[in-house]
Symmetry: C2
Amino acid sequence: MSLAQSVLSGDRLALARLLTRVENDTPEGRAGLDELFPHTGGAHLVGITGAPGTGKSSLVNQLALSFRKQEKRVAIVAVDPSSPFTGGAVLGDRVRMRDLAGDAGVFIRSMATRGSLGGLAQATVGIVQVFDAAGFEVILIETVGAGQSEVDIARLAHTTLVVEAPGLGDDIQAIKAGILEIADILVVNKADRPGVDSTERALKSMLDLAHPVAKVFMHHGTPLVPPIFGVQNGGMSEGQGGWIPPIRRTVATDGSGLPELVQSIEEHAQHLRRSGDWSRRERARLEAEFELLLQQMLLARFHAAVAETELAVMLDAVQGRKLSPRAALEKLMEEER
Amino acid sequence: MSLAQSVLSGDRLALARLLTRVENDTPEGRAGLDELFPHTGGAHLVGITGAPGTGKSSLVNQLALSFRKQEKRVAIVAVDPSSPFTGGAVLGDRVRMRDLAGDAGVFIRSMATRGSLGGLAQATVGIVQVFDAAGFEVILIETVGAGQSEVDIARLAHTTLVVEAPGLGDDIQAIKAGILEIADILVVNKADRPGVDSTERALKSMLDLAHPVAKVFMHHGTPLVPPIFGVQNGGMSEGQGGWIPPIRRTVATDGSGLPELVQSIEEHAQHLRRSGDWSRRERARLEAEFELLLQQMLLARFHAAVAETELAVMLDAVQGRKLSPRAALEKLMEEER
């Protein structure tokens, strides 16, 4: 029985092994991914992103517990692009285990960077596909930080949560302006802290800029119009199958607001399926995955064809300013052919 | 006269034009880069990174002012990977202009994301090369946020500053563990705030873990041994030409600590040249640039050879789970040949 077949039959040890091979991009990992791919497409992928200090990890733990109460199998993929060298991700696993230990319906995988731009996103794609094929119904993809790579990873999801918290300083505002546009659901975590009202107000006014319709129909998170207008508990129809990101307050440390947040996540999934956006998003996701993988495969082919020594000779010429990088690479690419 | 020649002759308008073309990766931009490349290699590239809320932008402005007092020409490249959609970078330009307006020895360029992992880093490389060729002696490369892409961009520099500030919350500690390892100089900005001592202590104990020698010789930022042991004002020799990152306190709003910080930056440059690390770092940087550009050129060649319609057919097969992404790409790559 192949590793992939063992994963499909529910073998946790095989799952852990395959995840490691996929993360390390070994030939066995690649073969496993190929074998599992036909079994993917069943999971709801939920991305969780936001600045440091917002309590994302605790929130993700609480989300996992909430989905477990519904008997759903949950995988957590914690991606840490900001910790490129040390074992922070491993420590993260231990801390989480306290809450979720011993539950066979939960699987947690932490990943640190793969050392290159794109490498981490590529590995995340593979890890998520393995969990998907293995029958996890909800896959929570958590990224630490709020940079471009985190945004790219969060985009791999069907539903993206952007987490904020009161009182995180000035620069946060600037980040939100961009990151808001990828949010399907906004979460104000640590909502028992002072400043929660002004944080929510700031988010709401930014949302109003992004979705002018929201201003008319919503007020303090509560829709002002009855459900007959297509409004459903914060997520509402814009007319062309649109979705206005609801704002949810949570206190991850005691679980407040979690039921409402889970409801919003499920409503978003329903909305995606109803509107046809589910398959459109999947297509966009597959296209992004395709491009990432293509990049990796083209580089691998190039390095297999061009000797290290040739590369070094060209780099010498570049460092000596005798050739521009582009001119040097054009020569090498001709040789590759 | 070509645009590149105008840039070399000191034409600011030509410089601005070429920067735009390089940022947009137009054929004229590429030709300009090729033409300018032999003139690069003179600038000291200084990367500045750190979490939001640390006051990096003000610090970068102050650094520029300090270098201007030494009659050095300074370029600032402000890279914002966390603002993928909106015009935050442009606003940044305006805010900065108040401090540095009208000084012909300063040029500021803000960049938002190029829409893809790696694209922004690639554009940054080009912008920095143009400034370098144009004779700017110091190039300050500032990144917003502290994710992997920021780290990758900061690494393009000879000297990397990691900026911290007191009281930024718990998650910051986790980030520092990784990011510390790329720091040549640590800056505790907003050093007039409460908590500065504990922030510096935390940084120092992490440094001790990374560089065990430092623990013996340094105490509260002051070397405990005389210069004869190779110690120079916080930056010290480890025996094999190593460098222990000094910790500098600054208050960017009033300029406190800036002379000492500038001194550390210059000492680091001297250290790099003395130890041979200058050219080793340049080599590593050129290798990274090479890989980024190679990626871009391989993708461009692929997309020129493979029709969009073929790509769409393969994506259909992948979405229908008939082919795995890797199998589909292998077919397409055969066709490319």
